[in-house]
Symmetry: C2
Subunit: 233 residues, 2 copies
């Protein structure tokens, strides 16, 4: 009996199962999938493989589960608003923060020590989603995403309010950071009824985004959106 107990607790596979069970809300079956999900390519991955393929799968599953959740829970919102809310939920920073909040970060194996960038934890969370999907199926995976990640941390209606304008959001952020920010019209083409404007957005003198639109306002909004996403604003 003692032998069996010792074996259980000294076996790293079982230790990970024990650590993950309260986080996931269920007991993993196929432990090796979870080991792989939490294994960054910087460590020796000869046993389980690194988590990059799982991340590829988990990223997509996460996006679809959130898409379906928004589709059902915001029946009055158009696809533009739904797309914006989804972007906010699946962006890199959100996932990195959630990985820490769920205490996934301390379970991730990397060789980068304190230099480990937070994106590695967000990526591991995506890989973990794929592990859950492959191990326990779509329903358990959906429940993890909605009940553990989304519902306790976000209000859909608050998110919707936040993303009324990317331009406003970006300018506000630039002001807070004390960075000079300006738009510049690069070109204007087309007949009067079908104009097209190309607009560049500069932050502290550097071109951070360029976008087009049928009005200056639309092109500025599109450029701001690109900037928000690429700079994780």
């Amino acid at each position: 009996m003692m032998n069996w107990l010792q074996k259980l607790f000294s076996n790293p596979s079982d230790q990970l199962t024990l650590d993950l069970t309260p986080i996931l809300g269920f007991q993993p079956k196929n432990a090796s999938l979870y080991h792989q999900a939490l294994c960054h390519s910087s460590v020796d991955v000869s046993k389980y493989g690194d988590n990059e393929r799982l991340e590829f799968l988990g990223d997509s599953i996460l996006s679809t589960v959130i898409t379906e959740h928004l589709y059902h829970n915001l029946p009055e919102k158009n696809e533009g608003t739904l797309t914006d809310i989804r972007s906010k939920l699946v962006r890199r920073k959100t996932l990195n923060d959630l990985a820490k909040k769920l205490e996934i970060d301390v379970l991730v194996k990397t060789n980068l020590g304190i230099k480990t960038p937070p994106s590695i934890f967000g990526n591991a969370l995506e890989a973990l989603i794929a592990a859950i999907y492959l191990d326990k199926g779509a329903a358990t995976c959906k429940a993890f995403i909605i009940d553990k990640m989304i519902s306790p941390n976000f209000s859909l209606h608050e998110l919707e309010k936040e993303i009324s304008s990317y331009k406003k959001h970006f300018l506000h952020w630039a002001q807070k950071k004390n960075k000079d920010c300006r738009f510049e019209v690069l070109g204007e083409t087309g007949e009067s009824h079908k104009k097209n404007f190309k607009i560049a957005l500069y932050l502290a003198g550097e071109n951070v985004a360029t976008a087009q639109g049928s009005s200056k306002k639309k092109a500025e909004e599109a450029a701001s959106k690109i900037a928000c996403e690429s700079l994780d604003v």
Copy 2:
């Protein structure tokens, strides 16, 4: 009996069900979902609503079903290759072509006549995927995507060969179109062990993409990828 038959065939809802059954390989249950999926916002949508929210959902489902298919069927490929193959399968042009091949295009209601851009058919196909998902569940929807859209039309290994280099692919396309194409280094920053190159891609004198990378080669490849995607090359 005659009356009942007449009613069946003159009822547009049932007509759509009849038209769709051979295309889908099963009989739709909730006809109104399919009406909505095939209803572009340019027509009177007061009865079923337009297909934009369904398209938002279907686009995501399609991407995840393909992601899972690639994950399982190409176990030796890394996430970079899988991402590239997926891009090719879910790109606008592929969907527009598939909509025509499946003869979805003739079922789409628009008010644009012969000016209807092909993307409206691709979008309707995405909306149709969501309708199937909501009407018949995940398994039927997966089977439609894999058995009707992907397997008869694409070889994963051929796709993989095609996307060995976006730069090669883009230059080849530009040459065929007789368009001048060149890369320009916009900037080079960082120490020698951690360089960063910013490169612009010009097509017929117009900047079509800008990207960064740790080598000129990587930045050129990244810019070519952006150009391939945005220009549907």
